[in-house]
Amino acid sequence: MTDASMHETPRKSSIHTIDARTKQRNASESRFKAYGIAAIALGLFFLVVLFVSIVRSGLPAFTKTVVEVEFTLTQEQFEQAESQLMKTGAYQDLFIAGIQSQLDARNIDVQADPAALERLLGKIGGDIRAFYSENPGMVGEPHVFGLSASSRVDGYFNGRVTRETLVDSRFLQASDLDLVDALFEAGIIKSAFNWGFITGADSGVDNPGGAGIGVSVVGSFFMMLVVLVLSLPIGVAASIYLEEFAPKNRWTDLIEVNISNLAAVPSIVFGILGLAVFIQFMHLPQSAPLVGGLVLTLMTLPTIIISTRASLKSVPPSIRDAALGVGASKMQAVFHHVLPLAMPGILTGTIIGLAQALGETAPLLLIGMVGFVARGYPDGFVGGFVEPNSAMPAQIYTWAARADASFYDKAWGGIIVLLVFLLTMNIIAIILRRRFERRW
């Protein structure tokens, strides 16, 4: 049938007049181009939406509302507070009394009973105690403290809490907002950049103002260090052997299949392995970036091996042959000629593997890095590996699960910090790749 119709219309083709078939082909080509552009546009659109929503939700985490007043702690008050079990609570009460006397001294006429001021303030006792234990000489001297307001006052300034939606509770009452407005007028309550968020450690669930991601950035850094130092050499050595030296037989086939399978294993499985092998069998410490790094190394290895082998394969055989031809040994050919040419590809694979590892939470669940880990900065280089710490994605996950909506902002802010960390890693990789790149 089709044969017959084709014979009936003999083709009179000319390159000057475009016939129907050519038109059709051209049309389908431009259609395909349009699809491609639409796909890219869609991708870009989602990227922009994602980026805008992350930045918009995350920015409140970088500012905080502070209560700034001059405060003097007498020696007697200091000793009295230090003698208590809940020293930070005592400092908090002293500071509230300090605010009241400041209000009197500066003739600011507002109704400020201690209970209302308590609701306005965040958990600040820890900050005060930390200040005086670092600067014992400041006892008795006046000092201007800028301490975080409560999460709801913070929410009032960034629009999360409004007079309409506020339900009177022991956390904040509608009448307190008048006091907040008055103190804002007087310059006692103000917005400030939240350095503590970038440098600090996690805080208790009732203290969103004190929460920071800095310590978990350090945790992630040490984990990435472990992953890099272990998985890059092991991965590269394994792939060079498999690609250049190993005989092609059933065993190497089996190994190859297994490596591909490992790359597809869900990450939580590695977490279970980590718990069983590293913590229960090898007795490595719990919640330590070292163990986290080891687990993530297992997860990253297949990715690195696969991409390294691909980039070794992509080096033209003529280069190997030429090297062998002028008398280089196989090892010299690989290390002097093939490996340098494959380096950019290896680096790309490594950075993809590291980026994946950086964002992984599931394997960390079982080795104790997800939860409340607020030990502060590790003690020295070795401490960075073995002292309990969290990791950025784990920290973000923990915050997102907390009751106080203020922690939700913190989670978004944490995502921004995570992205910045990732970007830095990628930029370093690109610079390195540029330096290694060789053309032939």
Binding site: Q84, L85, M86, K87, T88, G89, K123, G125, G126, R129, A130, V161, T165, L166, V167, S169, R170, F171, A201, S203, G204, V205, D206, N207, V226, V229, L230, L232, P233, I234, V236, A237, I279, Q280, H283, L284, P285, Q286, S287, L290, L365, G368, V370, G371, F372, V373, A374, R375, G376, V382, F385, V386, P388, A400, A401, R402, A403, D404, A405
Partner: protein
């Protein structure tokens, strides 16, 4: 070069860990207790010279399982639980050499039913309502049938004519047990379904199990994550009813409205007095063998139950914990390191 680097890295790691003894308290368990434990852990780090304890979540059962894995630095010291430890778990503990366990009750937690602030008027429930809505088999016209109800108004005209959609804690949560015992079972008895099942030839135990079964046709959804997940589900579904802890609800009053249970509104006062029926004690369990080995363990336990923290005016009560009227007794237990079985 690469091989050398790897070997030296491993050597450093091995040397570092062998010289490194754990100096912090390691806690895991109930996600209900986690907020309180994190408040205490932070304050403990700020107020003492000990490092801040690490508190992990994961659920009461998972926490107790890890607690019972054995004695030693690579096991946890404290398990948080939103229910009492079970006989079975005590046995499992003993098999692994964890014999001396100190049980510490920190206070009470209320379980509330809440819905979207702007949703239908779910303001008053009884256990019977919840059972009629969520039970797998209910009593209808004198017969035990597979739950036929689609809306709340079908069995109680006072409730809104809205599609049944409930988000209840999954089975790994301690909260689920309280929900079953204090709501479903009571509702089953009150509606007469339990009696009807027994009359229908079931043994009492079987009838009780049947009462606790929740319908599986999608109207009741198990939430295995945290309360924030439940909140997100409620946010997306105006007809949704969720089960929350009192503290979580109080922190999110601008988004949630709470329902009374048998006419009593949940609050720290009604829970402390026992008027509000759906509440449960919260615990943590301490391995006595670790006291004196892990620095700060006993101090942490004592700090947790001190009046300044767990008392009626402490930060835990301020966050939503109903403080234990017998706190002084608990403090004594911890101070004397009385293990389970000894003091009873």
């Amino acid at each position: 070069m690469t091989v050398k680097l790897t070997v030296s890295a491993l050597a450093i790691a091995a040397a570092a860990t062998s010289a490194y003894a754990r100096d912090n308290v390691q806690v895991a368990g109930s996600s209900t207790v986690l907020p309180y434990a994190s408040i205490v852990a932070e304050a403990f780090g700020e107020n003492t010279d000990f490092p801040t304890p690490v508190v992990e979540s994961g659920g009461s059962s998972a926490g107790l399982k890890r607690f019972c894995e054995g004695v030693g630095e690579n096991t946890i010291d404290v398990a948080n639980a939103s229910r009492a430890i079970r006989e079975k778990e005590i046995k499992a503990c003993a098999e692994n050499g964890v014999t001396d366990i100190i049980e510490v009750r920190i206070g009470y937690d209320g379980i509330v039913f809440a819905s979207q602030q702007s949703g239908p008027a779910f303001t008053a429930f009884t256990p019977s309502d919840i059972f009629n809505a969520l039970g797998a088999k209910v009593l209808k016209d004198g017969e035990v049938v597979d739950n036929p109800h689609n809306t709340w108004a079908e069995f109680n005209g006072d409730l809104p004519d809205a599609e049944i959609a409930a988000f209840i804690p999954g089975t790994k949560h301690g909260t689920r047990e309280v929900f079953e015992e204090k709501v479903l079972l009571i509702g089953c008895e009150e509606t007469g379904a339990m009696q009807a099942m027994i009359d229908g030839g079931m043994s009492e135990d079987d009838a009780e199990d049947a009462c606790l079964a929740v319908r599986t046709d999608g109207k009741s959804v198990d939430i295995d994550g945290d309360y924030t997940e439940t909140l997100a589900r409620i946010d997306a579904n105006p007809n949704g009813i969720g089960v929350f802890g009192l503290a979580f609800y109080e922190n999110n009053q601008d988004k949630l409205k709470v329902a009374t249970m048998s006419g009593v509104a949940p609050s720290t006062e009604t829970i402390a007095s026992g008027e509000y029926p759906v509440s449960r004690p919260l615990y943590f369990y301490v391995k006595k063998a670790h006291i004196g080995v892990i620095p700060g363990l006993k101090e942490y336990a004592q700090f947790f139950v001190a009046d300044e923290l767990a008392g009626p005016n402490g930060p835990l009560a301020n966050y939503g914990l109903v403080s234990d009227p017998e706190l002084a007794k608990v403090q004594q237990t911890v101070a004397d390191e009385v293990t389970m079985g000894e003091g009873m």
